[in-house]
Symmetry: C2
Subunit: 250 residues, 2 copies
């Protein structure tokens, strides 16, 4: 049965402060919870409707977590979804962990992308393009924010992240860094590359000035009209699509 | 002075029913209102803070509309923006009007794209890529929805739209129609095209079955990872970027 304490506990996880303190976050909605249960994340509690439990019995019976049957109304009062007739899971965070790009690999770095919807959408885009590493500045939105998880549409289970000082990390890696600017080289005209980091800037201010020295090349999506800019997630997708053409086939 | 009736009237414009009845909509926020005032839209009332009025005096003095000085608090209680220290304008709608694509021109057609944020973002993308005509199915979000206007970031002033039955209109035009599917031709491998319509489907269900016969070619953005799909606005941007490469330079 769903206890008041469990409800209270999950509600604290809406806030970053408590997520960090407990090292836990939550995932809601049918698609995301199903992707979660098939991933290497450690689920601790699953709240689910009878329908969800019946439908996914085989996926749940083998697992070692607490299952609490709830109503749709309870799910909606605990989580952030307006409509959720399936499930909500409490999950253990993975630690912030160092990685390094390999040869022929693209990595996305985000310099203070603050909107959780943008970060979640970028995680989904990365997953589409087979990019499984994100380097995130410390002011970038929290990977475990419920809106990030929601807009990643399950892709958060497949993309690794590392929060760090971007300047230091890019210098340590020593890989080419392609920074997205409005006055860089036309990405349609670039030649083949070997590997690299696609660096995207903040929604309002773009890439910080102090990162300019870390950038090997400024790149630009050609404009044919009058809009002043593109949303950062949109620009990330277009750049990933272009860079995938520029890498040698693996 | 701001009257109670004006407040009441603008508040009705949050709803499609009243926008259609009065043939008016509203635009809010500094950037969007400035783009509006430089466009061929007919502004009827401008609510603005003293700061905005002082800063943009030259743009406003020549115009023939009612100007009502208001506070930031008033703007925020009338509009949809959480924070608006600039302006909100009541504007005359343009009629739904027929257009036809010319040679070497790309048009975007949307089949029941229902999320206003997606439509607004697609308007901004169209404007970036110099595409100024959108064909919209009748179930697509309302072009004058405040969220569409907001997420178009001023690009709504430069993009024309026509709400119509897509099947009939595409047949009348007789142009090649490139439909976005998950099982079409890899867009990275397509050869040069002359002109055409990029057709995008509904967020959940994709392109309606009854439009299949209107489609000349199914196209797909190649996937390199595991995400099942891309958001419709993201996919529109990537396809526009690819089609711009495929058109002869104009």
């Amino acid at each position: 049965m769903l206890s008041k304490n469990t409800v209270k506990f999950i509600k604290t996880l809406h806030q970053k402060k408590y997520r960090s303190e407990h090292k836990k976050f939550f995932v809601e909605g049918e698609k995301s919870v199903l992707e979660l249960l098939s991933s290497d994340f450690n689920t601790e509690i699953l709240l689910a409707t009878d329908t969800f439990l019946d439908k996914n019995y085989s996926l749940i019976e083998k697992k070692n977590f607490e299952v609490i049957p709830v109503t749709q109304k309870q799910l909606e009062s605990i989580g952030q979804y307006r409509s959720n007739d399936a499930a909500l899971a409490v999950v253990e965070m993975k630690p912030n962990s160092w990685f390094e790009p390999t040869d022929h690999e693209l990595v996305i770095a985000l310099d203070d992308v603050r909107d959780p919807g943008n970060l979640g959408t970028i995680i989904r885009i990365a997953d589409w393009y087979g990019i499984d590493k994100l380097l995130l500045s410390k002011q970038t939105a929290d990977f475990y924010n419920p809106k990030v998880i929601q807009s990643s549409m399950g892709s958060f289970t497949r993309v690794h992240f590392y929060y760090a000082d971007l300047g230091d990390t890019l210098a340590k890696w020593g890989r080419p860094v392609y920074g997205a600017f409005l006055d860089g080289e036309n990405i349609h005209e670039m030649k083949q590359i070997e590997s690299g980091v696609i660096l995207m800037g903040n929604e309002s201010n773009g890439i910080s000035e102090n990162l300019e020295k870390a950038i090997s090349q400024k790149v630009t999506i050609p404009s044919f009209g009058h809009a002043e800019s593109l949303n950062v997630a949109i620009a990330t997708a277009v750049l990933c699509d272009n860079f995938k053409r520029l890498l040698p086939a693996s």
